[in-house]
Assembly symmetry: C2
Homo-oligomer: 223 residues x 2
C-alpha cells in the first residue's frame, strides 16, 4: 500500500476515495453539508480540487455515498433468522445498530442532520433508493412487533407507533453515543433492549429471566 512519492496518499489501508469520503463525512458532520465547500474537502484531505472531482464529480455524490453507506448498513443489520423469537430479533438488531453507529458516529450524524434537505441535493432515483431502505427498516421492526403480538409473546400494542419510537431511541443515539464512553455500545444495546422488551413481553418468567432471548448470558458478558 506504500505510495512513495505521494505525501498526501492514504497511510492506513484506506483507498484514496475512502479517505476522501471519511474526511468529507467529518466536515459535513461538523459544519453541515451546506456549510462545507469542495475546496474545504480538498484542503482537509490534502488533494487539489481537480483530484477530488476525479473521485466525486459533485459534492452531492459524496453526500449520497455517505447516505447509501448508512442506509445499506442499517438494512444489513436487520436480523432475519425466522426461527428466532421476536425478542431475540429486536435485541440483535439493536446490538448491531448501536455497535455500527458507535463505529462511525459522523456518518450517522450526517445522515440525520441532512435528512430534511436531501430532496434538494439528490436525484429522484437517489431519494427513492434511500426511502426504500428506510421503509424496509421501519417495516421490519413493525413486522417483528406484530409477529410477537400474534404469537402471544408480546402484549397488544400499536406496532406502528412503537416501531417509530424504537427507531428514534436507537438511531437517535448518535447524538450522545461515544466510542469510548462510560458504557459500550453493546452495554447500551442491552439496557435499551431489556427495558423495551420487558415492556412488551407478556410472560412474567421470560420477562424477568431472559427478556433478550436465549443468548441473554452471552449478551450480558458482551459476547
Amino acid at each position: 500500500m506504500s505510495e512513495t512519492a505521494v505525501p498526501t496518499g492514504p497511510s492506513n489501508g484506506m483507498s484514496r476515495r475512502e479517505e476522501l469520503l471519511a474526511v468529507a463525512t467529518k466536515l459535513f458532520a461538523a459544519r453541515g453539508y451546506h456549510g462545507t465547500r469542495m475546496d474545504d474537502v480538498a484542503d482537509a484531505v490534502g488533494l487539489n480540487k481537480a483530484t477530488v472531482y476525479h473521485y466525486y464529480a459533485s459534492k452531492s455524490l459524496i453526500l449520497y455515498d455517505i447516505y447509501k453507506g448508512a442506509a445499506d448498513f442499517t438494512v444489513d443489520a436487520l436480523h432475519d433468522d425466522p426461527s428466532a423469537s421476536a425478542r431475540e430479533t429486536i435485541y440483535h438488531f439493536t446490538r448491531r445498530l448501536l455497535v455500527g453507529i458507535s463505529s462511525d458516529i459522523e456518518r450517522a450524524a450526517v445522515y440525520f442532520q441532512e435528512a430534511p434537505y436531501i430532496t434538494e441535493w439528490f436525484t429522484e432515483e437517489q431519494v427513492a433508493y434511500i426511502r426504500e431502505k428506510e421503509t424496509q427498516v421501519y417495516e421490519h421492526v413493525r413486522d417483528v412487533i406484530d409477529r410477537g403480538i400474534a404469537s402471544g409473546e408480546f402484549y397488544e400494542c400499536d406496532s406502528h407507533v412503537l416501531a417509530l419510537g424504537y427507531i428514534g431511541m436507537t438511531l437517535g443515539s448518535y447524538r450522545w453515543l461515544r466510542p469510548h464512553g462510560r458504557r459500550t455500545a453493546q452495554e447500551i444495546a442491552v439496557e435499551f433492549s431489556t427495558a423495551l422488551l420487558r415492556g412488551l413481553i407478556r410472560d412474567e418468567a421470560v420477562r424477568h429471566d431472559s427478556p433478550l432471548g436465549a443468548d441473554q448470558a452471552d449478551a450480558r458478558s458482551g459476547g
Copy 2:
C-alpha cells in the same frame, strides 16, 4: 387588533413579531437556518427588510427566540408534583411533551436540525442558557427513574442511558408526528409510556393494570 391601513398586518391575533417568528420557523425548518436569508423571511412575511430588522437585529436572534421558546416549553412540561409516583411523573411529562411538539412541529424540527451548529450562531451566554435547560430536562428524567428504582417501583437499570433513550424516543417524534395523523399526540404518549413503563415497573399487578399510574382511566379516554 385591527390595523386598517396595513395589509401585511397580522390577522389571527398574533403580534407582528410573533408572526415573523412563526414564518421564520417554517422557513428554517424547510430550508435550514444556513439556507434562509433575512430577505427570504421579509418576503415571506410581507414586510420590508428594515421592518424585520426592527423586530430582530439579526437572523441569529430569530433562531435564538425559537430555541429559547422550545427549551422553556420543555422545562415547563416537567412534572414536579412530589407526591406523584415515578410512573405518573414520566407519563405526564411524555403527554405534555408530545402534545406540545405536535402543536409546533416546525419549532421542534428547527431545534434539532440546528443543534450541531448553534455554537456558530449564538453567543456564549445564549448557548449556556440552552445547555442549562437541556441539562435540567435530562437530569429530571434520570432522577425520576432513580427515584423509581430507589422506592422499588422500578427494576434496577442504568438511569443515565435510559433517560437518553427516553428523550430520543419522545423528542425525536417531531420527525413523524403530525397534528392530524392517524393517532393523536395524546394516544402516542399513552403507547410510548405504557411500553416504556411496563418495561420498568416491577410489580406484576401494577404493570398489568395501571402502568401509567392512578389516572390511567383519564389517560385512555384522552382526558
